[in-house]
Amino acid sequence: MESSSSSVSTATPVGVTPDYDDRIVKMFFTATVIWGIVGMLVGVIIALQLTFWQANLGPWLSFGRLRPLHTNAVIFAFAGNVCFTGIYHSMQRLLKTRMFNDTLSRIHFWGWQLIIVSAAVTLPLGMTQSKEYAELIWPIDVAITLVWVVFGINFFGTVARRKVQHLYVAIWFYMSFVITIAVLHIFNSLAIPATLFRSYPIYTGLTDALVQWWYGHNAVGFFLTTPFLGLMYYYLPRAAERPVYSYRLSIIHFWALVFLYIWAGPHHLLFSALPDWAQTLGMVFSIMLIAPSWGGMLNGLLTLRGAWDRVRTDPVLKMMVVAVSFYGMSTFEGPMMSIRAVNGLAHYTNWVIGHVHSGALGWVGMMSFGMLYWLVPRLYKRELWKPQWAEAHFWLATIGIVLYTVAMWAAGLMEGLQWRAINDAGQLANPIFLDITARLQPFLLLRVVGGSMYLVGAIMMGINFWKTVRGSDEAAQTPASVTA
């Protein structure tokens, strides 16, 4: 086919040292590892709070305040910094030019970290707007907008001064990330301030709910999916040393994905009093989303044709294969859960939490780890301190995800079925809600175990990278395999 023409190559003409800004890549990478561990640690803490209520420590560290901290930390601090690491590294090489403006890069970096720190302070203090993944108070929302504009100028400025004519598929996905997140963030955050720390949205009731889930679902779509597909399109072919399977498939699935995703939000509001036409649109478009999602998965997996022998030995490829596989699984599961009949059972249960984490831990997390294990030795021109730790990280994370999702599936099905069970007399079979909650405890504990394994893997990665970066000069000898 035409696959060979879509190959990713960073070959630089001999004797020319490209003047790329790799310092900013290293900054974002460092932030990624730190915030990733923090975000996952908070996740384990709140999982523990659901099995041991005593782990709720005072007002500031209680579940209701820490849960938004966990979601914000893993989405915007971990996944956000991963995206910026990969985008700043790959787009300079894809466009064969340095970033548009180094000062804008620094403002983007420090601005984003400042936003994260202010989130970590305000959320435990109970300052929140309560909209999921958009909890941060309005002054922080303003800061996010400003920093995003800086990123946008830097991004499009770099595109404008590119030294290649055509935009590679990864750039398309990055572009949809930059544009769509700006649109979503601005329109969902419109609010009337009451004090410096509190505001009320301009939308009310179910309109507010619809706008929020238009935002919320597409935060998943355009913060956790499209930029990561962009990373997949750059780093997977690089790691596999194979060209992307199909250029045509990438065109079709890109446009279908960005067009269809936006419609799917109302599936979060099935069986609510939202008008039926909107609920139905949400369901139908969610089901259609399988096609472009699997287009991306297949293009990723088929890129590995001829390289499967290396998947057995290379932790980078292993992680990417698991990531793309989980992407395929969760983008099948999501549409299924959007079917009204299934949603009636799954909604409000732990099944949703399991679904989210098969996407977050499986797809986003593993793609990030795979990318970082490939990138860091090349970025710092040092061999990885302990490759066998990367192997251990892979297994800890994979087994951890399986334990986590299986526990949540079981818990979700159980509570969903027991909430609705009606006995022969026409009365609730389980009239006491708390009885059902008590029966979930073994599964919630298993979730803590799975999540902790995932966290331990991430900490091992952090130590491994620390030792790699700060390693002795002996380790600094650049092996041939790293100079690519």
Partner: protein
């Protein structure tokens, strides 16, 4: 990044078009992307503001009182919505467990909406009037004293921490700006309203042997929780009575369903 241009010649027609027109011109690509991501959102959100296509409305609903607004802000502050939904789905088991299913107009003054996305604890849409004030007082202090085995954290600081009238006034002013009809927005008016409604709750608590004052957080929280779903239920009952006699059977049915949540906690 594509090193050779094979598909310029070989590719399909749309492949050639894509490569020449979109990938070659970043501005065109960015505009096309913006259009693609805008259509769905516009198609779903704009009709929400139309009377016929948007959520059903009712003139009979009243906005939250200043004390209830203070309680709702505490509900948001503590992240109660991370475990409790406020949306009863039109399903038999939910009607039995919680009462009447949620109507769109009940959320008229819900800013922000608090439907929730998860039920680690039971739905609270119809919790108003289900328990006495003193039950909520004790439950916030120590959930396990009333619900053995509960995983809910204690919120004992609400018994001592106080609500600032100036703070509530700022909220009432912002909500007035948003169009919520209030009879006043001065600090004096807000204080008087809070004292009046808070005083009733304090008296209830006092008769059950709990001493507190109208400006504690717990009183605001109780005011909010005791209001949830009550007005909607009343309006639904009035509607059912008004359309009698033919709807009489269904009205008793829904009233029975509204009562049926009693044994749940």
């Amino acid at each position: 990044m594509t090193e050779n241009n094979q598909h310029e010649e070989q590719g399909s027609a749309y492949g050639r078009f894509h490569r020449r027109v979109l990938e070659g011109k970043a501005v065109v690509f960015a505009v096309a992307t913006t259009v693609a991501i805008s259509i769905g959102g516009l198609a779903e959100i704009i009709p929400m503001f139309s009377a016929s296509l948007g959520p059903e409305r009712s003139e009979a609903v009243t906005p939250y009182t200043p004390l209830e607004v203070a309680g709702r802000d505490l509900y948001i502050r503590e992240g109660c919505y991370t475990c409790h939904s406020q949306m009863v789905r039109p399903m038999r088991a939910e009607l039995l467990r919680y009462g009447e299913w949620s109507r769109a107009w009940e959320y008229t003054y819900d800013r922000p909406f608090l439907l929730g996305s998860r039920r680690l604890g039971p739905d609270l849409q119809r919790v108003g009037g289900k328990y006495p004030d003193a039950w909520h007082y004790d439950h916030m202090e120590d959930p396990r004293a009333l619900s053995p085995g509960s995983i809910m954290p204690a919120y004992d600081w609400m018994l001592t921490d106080r609500v600032e009238v100036a703070d509530v006034t700022a909220s009432i002013r912002a909500l007035s700006t948003a169009g919520h009809p209030y009879d006043g927005d001065s600090e004096e008016w807000v204080r008087a309203e809070m004292e009046r409604q808070g005083g009733e709750i304090v008296a209830n608590l006092q008769s059950a042997g709990r001493e507190t004052t109208w400006d504690t957080e717990i009183v605001a929280m109780i005011a909010y929780l005791q209001r949830l779903g009550v007005e909607g239920r009343q309006i639904l009952q009035q509607q059912a009575t008004a359309s009698a006699p033919e709807a009489e059977a269904s009205s008793t049915e829904s009233a029975a369903a509204a009562q049926a949540g009693g044994g749940d906690r």
